[in-house]
Symmetry: C2
DNA sequence: TGCGACCGTCAGCTTGATTGACTTCTCGGC
DNA sequence: GCCGAGAAGTCAATCAAGCTGACGGTCGCA
């Protein structure tokens, strides 16, 4: 088989883990939460909140893409935007009380998913997978620059 | 960092490889071809063609999703649908002459991308990555069944 | 003070996928 | 021989997740 097998494996694995996370959250009483939203909650700084641009940078997407997710969570009362006291252009995304509760649940859900993966793969393979993916991405970045 | 890091690494790696493939094809004189289209071309049986449903099964998507890709390639004269002599309900997707040429180029492009990945990772890591991903997906499938 | 760069936002588009409903056709059992 | 379950392909609508481009404020610096 000479197909783009590796790329498809990577995508399938990603989808699998993302779906697992959603299920995990459902079982914990948080239905209708998507993986991208969970990821955002985990990226918001607990103490001072985080700017949209910074969230986008952390997730590796454009600020426009990140805004959509923030909008969704804001409608559901999980985060809110407050003006940044240090910069009149910026706003700071903060967790609400409910958002903090959910963020904690997300951390547990993520841990559960990753623990399960670690168990099926074994610690060595699991760590090696991370390293290998890092390596692959690093190499690509350098290529883009050079 | 307690984030769904692994899932994001997997997605990023997939995107990287897919993008590489597109670039590779551009450089070989086939612009505006997406990775999903290339994958389809590689999945069409060279001799007898392949049914839509079978293509969908191989790619792990719905037949409706696969139809879109077949439509795109048919418009561009790379594949055509012919009635299946063995089943009046079915049609067979076949490569045209141009499609065959492109499919060959796709095979080379895929090989180039995977070879590059193998080079940056080293043969051992590369094989291990494949195995690990297979393992992960296998385990998930069993879980769904059980 | 004025200008370039940056922050969030709006608008529009693309890609890849889904579900649901429908037509046509096959095939196995009665 | 017919007849109903179900499969193959199709049409339509929708969704998630991303992108680019444009734009109004604001910041900071020369």
């Amino acid at each position: 088989m000479a197909e783009p097998q590796l790329a498809r494996l990577l995508l399938a694995a990603h989808r699998t883990l993302a779906a697992d996370l959603v299920v995990e959250l459902e079982e914990r009483g948080w239905p209708d939460l998507r993986a991208s939203q969970a990821a955002l909650l985990l990226n918001v700084d607990r103490r001072f909140g985080t700017r949209l641009t910074e969230l986008a940078r952390r997730a590796g997407v454009t600020k426009q893409a990140m805004m959509v997710v923030v909008d969704e969570l804001e409608v559901r009362g999980l985060v809110r935007r407050t003006p940044d006291p240090e910069d009149g252009r910026a706003k700071v995304v903060r967790l609400t009380a409910r958002g903090r509760t959910l963020a904690a649940e997300c951390r547990r859900a993520v841990a559960a998913v990753e623990t399960r993966a670690r168990r099926t793969l074994g610690g060595r393979r699991y760590e090696s997978l991370r390293e290998t993916l890092d390596l692959l991405l690093e190499a690509e970045e350098e290529e883009d620059v050079g």
